[in-house]
Amino acid sequence: MSTATPTRTATMAQALNAALRDALREDPAVHVLGEDVGALGGVFRITDGLTAEFGPDRCLDTPLAEAGILGTAIGMAMYGLRPVVEMQFDAFAYPALEQLFSHVAKMRNRTAGKLPLPITVRIPYGGGIGGVEHHSDASEAYYAATPGLHVVTPATVADAYGLLRASIASDDPVVFLEPKRLYWGKAAFDPAAQVEPIGKAVLRRAGTSAVLITYGPSLPVCLDAAEAAAAEGWDLAVLDLRTLVPFDDETVCRVVRSLGRAVVVHEASGFGGTGAEIAARVTERCFHHLAAPVLRVTGFDIPYPPPMLEHHHLPGVDRILDAVARLQWEDRG
């Protein structure tokens, strides 16, 4: 059934496209809708060729109105379809937040399970692509703070395919956050083996000194930081959360307890960001295993900067290493 030959090389954009294509093929209830998802294939080409293959009934160019798009998707889901909505950029999902918060997140609960909404809302998020203002927001904190939503964010090509398939197959609504700046990175992936369960973090790199807890666009940065840290004598583990809600307390706590030191890394602003939740819950659950407070390396508490200055805002290797250095190595361990 899959469009991709096993273990091929693809960009994340292509893997996402393959996931949509395979989902459309396998389940007639799956419908894609959004701005420019048709002939253009979306501004990031994630829906490339879908209208050509499945027709406009299955992959629909909508009018330009995000609340209308998500509201229409809700009605389609009420009828029994499984809509996949594309928001063009992160900040352009904001007009749809009322539909998301007041209906998508709540409909199952409001109807005692009678009207579940198996909607996937795909949102390209984060910066690092030289976009002008309003094109680089990272707003996962809004979604993660909303009970009733699953929040998924892949960081690898394989997960992009596997987690998107799982999200579309989920009977719960999923906010699927695609790290734009990883769209064009290539890697091998085997779609046949790659339907990932939602809610499982994965250790991307084992280590013995401390763990970097991260997700989405910051994963490659953390892996680079771990590489660089090795030169300075730290053997850092890197944990990719993959799913913010539901949160994989078990895996995260197991790793933190075994190492005693952790740094949370994400590019969204720090104050009220998802890193706060991660730090708080890890501390609650692993307090006596901690040799140092869980530190956070995040974007600053500022509106996203213009492209020429964005690298100062985004957590980079040095900023991560600075935090690692502050993990009170002198104290204990």
């Binding site: 005692a112 399970g113 009678k114 009207l115």
Partner: protein
Amino acid sequence: MTVLDHRHHTAVPGWMPGATAPRTDPAPLLPDAAPVRVLGTPALEKQDPALLRELYRRLVVGRRYNQQATTLTKQGRLAVYPASTGQEACQIAAALALGERDWLFPSYRDTLAVVSRGVDPLEALTLLRGNAHTGYDPRATRTAPLCTPLATQAPHAVGLAHAARLGGDPVVALAMLGDGGTSEGDFHEALNFAAVLQAPVVFLVQNNGYAISVPLSAQSAAPTLAHKAVGYGMPGRLVDGNDAPAVHGVLAEAVERARTGGGPTLVEALTYRVEAHTNADDATRYRTEPEVAAWREHDPILLMERSLRGLGVLDDALVRESADEAEALAARMRAEFHAEPELDPMSLFTHVFAEPTQQLREQAAQLSAELAAEAEVQQ
């Protein structure tokens, strides 16, 4: 069948140089300036007497339902009730204009329409009683939950109708809104989507003159709210919302158009909210008694009675029958609402997701332990 093909001509010749005529002649879209009326006009004679009797009976029962629910708020048996007293013709006509497989998308004021659609009166009031959110199974009667965030249900109706049409299923969706709701962006987006997709939807705006305290004159400067249809390329209809056969006729026609591929219609029904916004509201702050009195004179039941008596459709037997049914319903409501509802605190966790997450299981365990501890203390 690909239903959306018509949209995918590449060029847009309708407005290319030298061909800038309107894409559709707007004139047939313009609603009549005077609202459609049936009662008291010769058109009444052509109506099906069975329908007229049915409308009358349901109006009387509906009025009693509204009154009893309001009384229950005073007795603390309902948390809140936004009465549709005075608007019963719209409520009943909306429910009757739809077939069984069609869907109704009510707003928070449309409990009576929900009940008229076949939902159990007790279940329809669960939200307002406060023991659960939606008390009924929306799929059973094809009635969406009562919707509080204004106009947000309108795009849901479009999506459902669109999905049905894609599946070749002749379902029509009817969304109910208030005059105030037309100001929200979601109203606009829903109408535009409906027209572009040619979705089988009917939008019924009950223009009752006020959005809580704000009069229509501060809500819109349009000639009528029905004229808003023009901007979407769909027909708009204006109807006397207190004239039950007129509302039913206009809605039935719109439903039929939608079902047969004619696309959406916007209907504005002129009516009046005789009670306050809800039991919590003080309407004397923003409107005058003479205004209310004038509308009481134009009451939907009164209008029916006057016209149907003359026509010989309404007789004492029907009046008695209707009154009895109304009283029986009221009695049932009183009885059922005087019993304390059964509450299960653990239900808080059961329908957040298909399966509770680990976190929710932990939280449920916490609440469960608390409840056990409380129970112990109370023993």
